[in-house]
């Protein structure tokens, strides 16, 4: 549905410019020398019609600001100040005077223009390699004007893709738990926002406790846990229609849900008589399968992107550790043997890494390791943090962090943070309220 709103037309993609391009951004290591990039405001065609609730005259400027903010948040780019810009947006978009832009130390330039006609927003943009004096990529597309923020995110994704060689992650959303109220009487609601913190919407009212929402990687469905009628169960929610239903018919608590990579199954834990094991339920056939059968706690399951394996945490060795098994539950192997205890394994969408929470000597770490447990790298240490979730391109993790509380709970906060898997670029996300349990969506326009 969302996909259909966009009509992407490739204008003129100079294929041969790939081989001549001089600028590229290496995102495989911490980038301490971000690429200077100039994002010219998009030129607004004077024939553009007025649209209710949209400041059409400022639209080009506003789109460029969102692109700049996206770029800055990656730590890979350094968007230059607009005061220094040397050419008018419409003229630069036709053909920039490369040597002038190089004078302000820009290495890449983004230009564009837009027109609103017949209630449609038409946008085109170009990315210029200033060093090689070449156009690197160009795109034009048409959408409804109210989608203008997504236009900015899609442009950001295309440019990120062209400069890094990796898929972008800007046209995405994050679902999370919005928290308010005193620490011992917390009110929790499901909330969703654009990746940059805009367009926050609350999906539940806060009447019942809700936890751990997770996106279906293939569509806009969400699975989460709710204490509706004081029965803790896994639910399925369609965020476009608002319809929701209990997943399965379990005679007890179900929790820790996640989708399979094809979006057709939910994997979760079911607790009964003091024992939690892992189950899957096929959403179409409603067939329930038991995956683990062990007297210890088995929970926080996560599929590998090819669907062949499942990572989970279990205390079968005495304390919480990470395990990997085949998706039918066979061949269970413990993968963590380091000091401390480990939880919340989440398989990278690229398949190469598992992100996790580690607890050691009263401190909490977010880290990544290879899927056999080797190559452990701790990315960030804090008083309390957990629950990493991957950006769709597998380059960034979002997680939540809590602060220490005083006598009556004062000083307590829960916030979302992100960090690159390089260990660089740790950032607090802007949320309207306290927040926890983030889950990153796939690209909306893919």
């Amino acid at each position: 549905m969302i996909k259909n709103l966009f009509y992407l037309i490739i204008l003129n993609l100079f294929l041969n410019s790939f081989s001549y391009a001089l600028i590229e951004v290496d995102i495989t290591r911490g980038n301490l020398d971000p690429l200077p990039i100039a994002v010219s405001p998009l030129h607004v065609d004077i024939k553009s019609q007025e649209i209710k609730d949209i400041k059409v005259k400022q639209l080009g400027e506003n789109i460029s600001k969102i692109i700049e903010k996206n770029f800055k948040s990656t730590g890979l780019f350094n968007p230059l100040k607009k005061e220094a810009f040397v050419q008018k947006p419409d003229i630069a978009h036709l053909k920039p005077r490369f040597e002038d832009w190089r004078l302000i130390k820009a290495q890449a330039l983004v230009t564009g223009k837009l027109l609103i006609k017949d209630e449609k927003l038409k946008v085109e943009f170009r990315l210029w390699d200033l060093t090689a004096a070449k156009e690197m990529t160009a795109l034009a597309f048409t959408t409804t004007p109210s989608n203008w923020r997504r236009v900015a995110h899609i442009i950001s994704d295309k440019i990120y893709e062209r400069l890094t060689g990796e898929e972008g992650y800007f046209d995405t959303r994050i679902i999370y738990v919005a928290e308010s109220g005193p620490k011992n009487q917390r009110i929790k609601k499901l909330a969703i926002m654009d990746q940059d913190g805009a367009n926050t919407k609350y999906l539940t009212l806060g009447n019942e406790l809700v936890l751990t929402p997770r996106f279906n990687p293939t569509n806009q469905m969400v699975t989460y846990m709710s204490y509706f009628r004081n029965m803790p169960r896994v639910y399925l929610l369609d965020i476009e229609t608002g319809t929701q239903e209990v997943v399965g018919n379990f005679p007890g608590m179900t929790f820790a849900p996640r989708f399979s990579p094809d979006g057709k199954k939910i994997i979760m834990s079911f607790a009964k008589d003091g024992n939690s094991d892992i189950y899957t339920m096929d959403l179409e056939s409603r067939l329930v399968e038991r995956i683990t059968d062990h007297s210890s706690i088995d929970t926080s399951p996560s599929f590998s992107p090819d669907g062949k394996f499942i990572a989970f945490n279990s205390d079968r060795s005495g304390l919480q550790q990470l395990y990997v098994m085949r998706s039918d539950g066979s061949n269970v192997k413990r993968i963590t043997f380091g000091k401390g205890i480990y939880g919340t394994p989440v398989w990278s969408p690229r398949g190469d890494l598992i992100a996790f929470t580690k607890m050691h000597k009263g401190r909490f770490f977010i880290g990544v390791m290879r899927t056999d447990g080797s190559g452990e790298r701790l990315l960030t240490e804090n008083y309390y943090q957990e629950a990493p979730s991957w950006s769709p391109n597998g380059r960034v993790l979002v997680f939540y962090r809590e602060t220490k509380a005083g006598e009556k709970g004062e000083g307590f906060s829960a916030k979302l943070w992100s960090i690159d898997i390089t260990g660089y670029n740790e950032r607090k996300l802007t949320t309207k309220t306290d927040a926890s349990d983030p889950s990153w969506s796939s690209l909306l326009s893919k």
Binding site: P232, G274, I297, G343, A405
Partner: protein, 158 residues
């Protein structure tokens, strides 16, 4: 030689001070024994002399001697009040991952339920629910508060 003896003495003094200070802190928070809360501060009562909750060590769901004594009192009380049904709420402290703590709370509540059942209370009268770390009784971030939050609480339903 003298230097060595001096050093030894100094070390001894330091050790003694450490031991003394350790004793005094242990006494101050003397409501914790081996990581399990033994105080009465947060405890409520189902009836006179029948405490409503038992406490657990970090990441554990085994019942201490004191917990078993409390649960035996609850069993006696439930035997006397045959029409009463209860819910046992299992809880964890905030120093663990959310999902694991949900499972841990469920395991703790069931440890209490199982014990009541061995003392003749029908399982039909006891339901369990885990709140994980979602409902701390003490919001402070301190070992004492955490020990008070690692609990299972027996709540009357009717």
């Amino acid at each position: 030689m003298t230097l060595k003896t001096n050093l030894k003495n100094i070390l001894l003094v330091i050790f003694a001070t450490l031991i003394l200070s350790a004793c005094s802190t242990a006494k101050k928070s003397g409501d914790i024994e081996g990581d399990v809360y033994t105080g009465k501060e947060t405890v409520e009562f189902l009836a006179a002399g029948v405490p409503d909750r038992v406490f657990f060590a970090t990441n554990k769901s085994s019942l201490t001697t004191a917990s078993r004594a409390t649960l035996r009192k609850q069993a006696t009380y439930l035997r006397k009040n045959k029409n009463l049904t209860v819910t046992i709420e299992g809880h964890a402290d905030e120093r663990g991952t959310r999902e694991y703590n949900l499972a841990l709370g469920e395991r703790r509540a069931n440890a209490a339920r199982d014990y009541l059942m061995t003392y003749g209370i029908s399982g039909k009268r006891i339901s369990v629910i885990s709140y994980g770390k979602e409902k701390p009784v003490n919001p402070k971030s301190s070992p004492l508060a955490w020990s008070q939050n690692r609990r299972s609480v027996t709540v009357k339903v009717n």
